[in-house]
């Protein structure tokens, strides 16, 4: 245990003088955080007020019920259940299918003997990661429209022949599958790195013990990358409340709000389109608080695993 240093202005003054050029360097950085991170944090106050732009943040009246009226309104509204459910369904489905996909790809890439073919496959698989979300989403819209080739292929096997994004039940599959398409290669990088870090002697030893390829995979490869898998999973679960907000914004339409509207898009519409500043900020805070709780829980768990904590 370290003894708490007494706050001493003279010591601080000396320190500021001694490291003056270091502090000068830090000044623009501190300024950035104050103006663009902490000032908006103060702006959170509007969630507890009836904000009017004319009166300003401080001057606006406090909301009813000790400032919590907007939270109460939100929890009692029909939208609360819907956007919470949609956020969780989209996020958990993405994790369920999107998380194992790059691991499987990495394991399979690792088995390719031809280095050149392996490199080409990898390079191609990164490609969608670099296409902007605006373009990816319009590609999705084109290809799943009634004339799109994805709809066409589905109709060949007895699937639907209309614009898929006009029906609520197709939104989540489209969101998740396109997410896998875009990120599988990029996501595999980290696992490939972990795979290349496995000691080759372990494989030799396993072979001598008579382990076939499948046994080597179970007893050498998977344990070799399990640390990475656990950390990546915890990181991913920590952001379970953050849905790819821009992607939902670009893909959804009024007809499919039932499955597509999430917390962040709701905040956007209420705040910036309907000008319900305070209500919308309250919904945003609800999201941040839940999010923070989730991050803390998973950070605790990951610290338990010892070797690598999240920071």
């Amino acid at each position: 245990m370290r003894k708490k240093k007494r706050f001493d202005l003279r010591v601080l003054g000396k320190d500021l003088k001694k490291y003056s050029d270091a502090y000068v360097m830090a000044l623009p950085v501190i300024l950035f955080y104050l103006v663009f991170c902490y000032k908006p944090l103060y702006g959170i106050l509007i969630a507890f007020k009836d904000f009017s732009p004319a009166a300003g943040i401080w001057g606006s009246d406090w909301a009813a019920n000790h400032g919590f009226q907007h939270f109460i309104d939100f929890f009692q509204s029909y939208y609360f259940g819907r956007i919470l459910k949609n956020t969780l369904v989209i996020s958990l489905t993405s994790i369920l299918f999107g998380f194992p996909a790059p691991i499987i790809l990495a394991l399979l890439l690792n088995e390719l003997k031809n280095e050149k073919f392996k490199r080409i496959t990898q390079t191609v698989s990164y490609m969608p990661h670099f296409i902007s979300i605006v373009v990816v989403c319009s590609m999705i819209q084109m290809f799943t429209s009634n004339k799109g080739f994805i709809t066409y292929l589905l109709s060949l096997v007895g699937g639907p022949d209309f614009s898929l994004l006009t029906k609520p039940e197709y939104f989540v599959p489209i969101y998740v599958l396109s997410g896998i398409w875009q990120e599988i290669g990029w996501g595999a990088i980290i696992y490939l790195a972990a795979l290349s870090g496995i000691d080759q002697q372990l494989y030799e030893a396993a072979k001598i013990d008579g382990a076939g390829k499948w046994k080597q995979m179970l007893h050498v490869t998977l344990p070799g990358i399990s640390g990475t898998i656990i950390i990546m999973l915890l990181l991913r679960l920590g952001s379970v409340m953050n849905v790819g907000f821009e992607k939902v914004m670009l893909l959804y339409n009024e007809g499919i709000y039932d499955t597509a509207d999430v917390i962040s898009t709701f905040v956007y519409r209420k705040g910036l389109l309907d000008f319900q500043w305070s209500y919308s900020a309250a919904v945003g805070i609800f999201n941040s608080v839940v999010n923070f709780g989730v991050v803390m829980i998973f950070n605790k768990i990951s610290k338990k695993y010892g070797e690598v904590s999240l920071w």
């Binding site: 601080l12 320190d15 500021l16 001694k18 050029d21 270091a22 502090y23 360097m25 623009p28 950085v29 501190i30 950035f32 955080y33 663009f36 991170c37 902490y38 000032k39 908006p40 702006g43 509007i46 943040i57 790809l105 399979l108 890439l109 088995e111 390719l112 073919f117 496959t121 191609v124 990164y126 490609m127 670099f130 296409i131 902007s132 605006v134 373009v135 319009s138 590609m139 819209q141 429209s145 004339k147 080739f149 292929l153 980290i190 790195a193 390829k213 990475t228 990546m232 990181l235 821009e246 905040v267 705040g271 910036l272 919308s280 900020a281 945003g284 805070i285 999201n287 941040s288 920071w311």
Partner: protein, 294 residues
């Protein structure tokens, strides 16, 4: 017994190669389709249903000519170029200053400042307070609204810091003894020794600026200020609406959008798709550092 196992693995290997070819196909085909469609006859394309393996004749480059003549797209390119260059300069300067300050041993306030920075990773004002902040700073309708609020990404700052921390302290200390200021040390010692990480920063921040559309859509009103991706989004949205609704009653803008949408995607996506294979070596490294330290 041993023989049989080898054969099973060989079968697996063949399936594996076929599977990889399939991955390549489904990754590349949508992009290939867009390229083919961009050279196709618009009339033929609008009647076409299903897959495309060659452009529909007669080939045309008229869509590209329209794209390059469109004033909105040209100003979009110009605005994105501005945000990209000035933004990157601001990003790199501030990120390196912050990262270097956190590596310096000695300043008493360092831990307080570090906590202040990390804290913002867990709590942010959120959409509405951020918007009101930009508004109160008078940055609405200014390209600076796309540069300043994202000047530092804390994750990137931590990646940068871990690169600086890997440089031996003795180098900094001996430079200090020679009378060098911290700014000089940053420029002459730290930067040359962490080029690979700086390349990763350029890639991460750069891709962010290139793809930026959402902040632009809420902070900018004047169409002449729109960055490329927002212009693209607005044009493609028109095309999307006409595709979803009935064909009749399309207004002129939507017709244009329908005509140029494929060429537009090709033009705006090509620069980054041409560049990334060359940066591959760097970003593989960057992902590693980011995942471990972030």
């Amino acid at each position: 017994m041993v023989r049989k196992k080898i054969t099973a693995y060989q079968i697996f290997s063949i399936f594996n190669i076929v599977f990889m070819l399939f991955i390549i196909l489904i990754t590349a085909y949508p992009i290939y389709y867009i390229v083919l469609a961009s050279f196709s006859d618009p009339g033929g394309l609008s009647r076409h249903v299903g897959l495309l393996w060659a452009p529909i004749k007669p080939y045309t480059t008229s869509a590209y000519e329209t794209v390059f003549r469109n004033p909105l797209i040209i100003t979009g390119f110009r605005n994105t170029a501005f945000v990209l260059t000035v933004g990157l300069l601001v990003n790199l300067t501030l990120t390196m200053l912050g990262a270097f300050f956190l590596t310096i041993k000695g300043p008493r306030l360092k831990n307080v400042i570090a906590i202040m920075i990390i804290f913002t990773m867990y709590f942010s004002g959120g959409l509405i307070p951020s918007y009101l902040n930009i508004k109160s700073l008078g940055l609405l309708d200014s390209l600076w609204a796309l540069i300043l609020p994202g000047a530092i990404s804390t994750t990137n700052l931590i990646i940068m810091k871990s690169a600086f921390a890997a440089i031996p302290d003795s180098l900094i200390e001996s430079a200090r003894l020679d009378g060098a200021s911290y700014t000089q040390i940053l420029i002459r010692v730290m930067v040359p020794l962490s080029k690979a990480t700086i390349a990763v920063m350029v890639l991460y921040y750069g891709v962010g600026h290139w793809n930026e559309w959402f902040n632009a859509s809420i902070y900018l009103r004047n169409g002449e200020k729109f960055p490329l991706q927002l212009v693209v989004r607005n044009i493609l949205k028109l095309a999307g609406n006409s595709a979803m609704g009935s064909g009749a009653g399309m207004d002129e803008m939507a017709q244009l959008a329908e005509l140029i949408k494929y060429a537009l995607i090709v033009v705006t996506t090509t620069p980054i798709l041409v560049l990334y294979p060359f940066l591959q070596k760097h970003f593989v490294k960057g992902v590693m550092v980011g995942a471990i330290k972030g």
